[in-house]
Structure formats: structure tokens, C-alpha cells
Symmetry: C2
Subunit: 94 residues, 2 copies
DNA sequence: TGTCTAATTAGCCACCCGTCTAACTATTGT
DNA sequence: ACAATAGTTAGACGGGTGGCTAATTAGACA
């Protein structure tokens, strides 16, 4: 969970995720939207992959990245549980 | 938003938030639950306060900390929007 | 086999983060 | 005023992070 929130804490990476929410994109297409070198972008992809927030597949020379919403939903669940426990201090389960 | 996710990315801080979801607690009471010096704990409180995930008030010698769910809900909203855009690529607004 | 293109990996650097000890501030009580 | 208690602030230190350039891998194509 650490690495998920850490991955989300960078604005570039959040923007990458937002772009991927529109659908699969290649590394190059994503990189072209930022004022940053490809290696730097590649680093961000690696961080997002490590957190399992994105998946990748190679097709010829290009690598296609796509959003993996499962982990994102786990992050939502963690924070929501916090808020619920807080608001429901009276008679919430364990 | 950066500082919110960054604040959430540390396990000690997430545990502090979980404890505070049970209700207001003093700095000392919180610190006693961790194998860490008070200054280190104080640092974590500062990070959480800076992200506005917690609030504090002094009462005599003690400082009481409490959870601020507003910002937590904003974090949920951000991630939920991501997931929704992704799943609803067909005919979602904007 | 070369060579071009897409992308990552390697190595470097400045800065940030989490922790500690030591020192300080604030409040209570004698 | 002094001492005790609760907590923060200051400064140092090792390890991690985000950016860069240069080198490398992987695939397409002549």
C-alpha cells in the first residue's frame, strides 16, 4: 500500500494515470505529452508498474500501457474505511 | 494533492490516522503506541497537519489531535474519478 | 548484416524523507 | 522562581527520489 500512495504522490504520475483512463497508450505517446526526457518518463512508468497501477504489453517496437483499476480501488477502500470508521464511531463493526 | 498522497504513503502515518478514526487522542497517547521517539512522531504529526488530514488543539500541557475527513474524502474523490472515467469510456461526461 | 526507431537501463547528482539526539517552548504545580 | 511534564524545533545522517545524459536492448526492415 505504501508504494501505491507513493506512486500517486507525484503529479506527473497522476497525470499519466488520468491519460490512461481514456484508454491504452504507448510509452511514446504518453512521453510526448510531458516536457521531460523519455528516460524520466520510463522511470515513472516503472514506479506505476511496481505499484501495479498500470500494466504493459509489447506490440512490435512499442509498449502499450493501460490502467489497472484494481489497485486504485484498493486505495479508495483504504481511505473510505478510515472515513467510515471515523463517522460511524457509534456501533460500527469492529 | 501531492502532500496528501505523500502523507498517506507512510505506514506509521496511516496507522496514526487509523487510531484517530476512533476519536481524538493526545500526542503522547499516540506516540506510546509506536516504537519510535517523540520527535519522530512529532514530525509525522506535522506532515499530517500540513496535508490537513488532522487538526490539533492544545489543552493545558497536552495537544489533542483529531482526524479531518474532508481532505481524505477529496483523495477518495480523485481516485474514484480516475476509476470511473476508465470504466465509463463510453458516454461519460466531458 | 546493418541501420533506424522505440523504449529501457545505467550511472550520476541535487534534493527530500524518516529517524535520531540535543535543545528549546509551554504549561502546571510547589 | 524552580522543577517536572508534554510536546516541538534544530541539526545531523543515511537512504531514497526525480531529473538528466549516455549507453543498451528489442524489434522492423532493407
Amino acid at each position: 500500500m505504501d508504494i501505491v500512495f507513493k506512486a500517486l504522490s507525484d503529479p506527473t504520475r497522476r497525470e499519466i494515470l488520468r491519460l490512461l483512463s481514456q484508454g491504452e497508450k504507448t510509452a511514446g505517446e504518453l512521453a510526448s505529452k510531458f516536457d521531460m526526457t523519455k528516460p524520466s518518463m520510463s522511470h515513472h512508468f516503472a514506479v506505476l508498474k511496481d505499484a501495479e497501477l498500470i500494466s504493459s504489453r509489447r506490440e512490435g517496437q512499442q509498449i502499450w500501457y493501460s490502467l489497472n483499476t484494481t489497485v486504485a480501488q484498493e486505495a479508495i477502500a483504504w481511505v473510505m474505511d478510515l472515513v467510515e470508521r471515523s463517522s460511524g464511531k457509534r456501533s460500527k463493526r469492529k
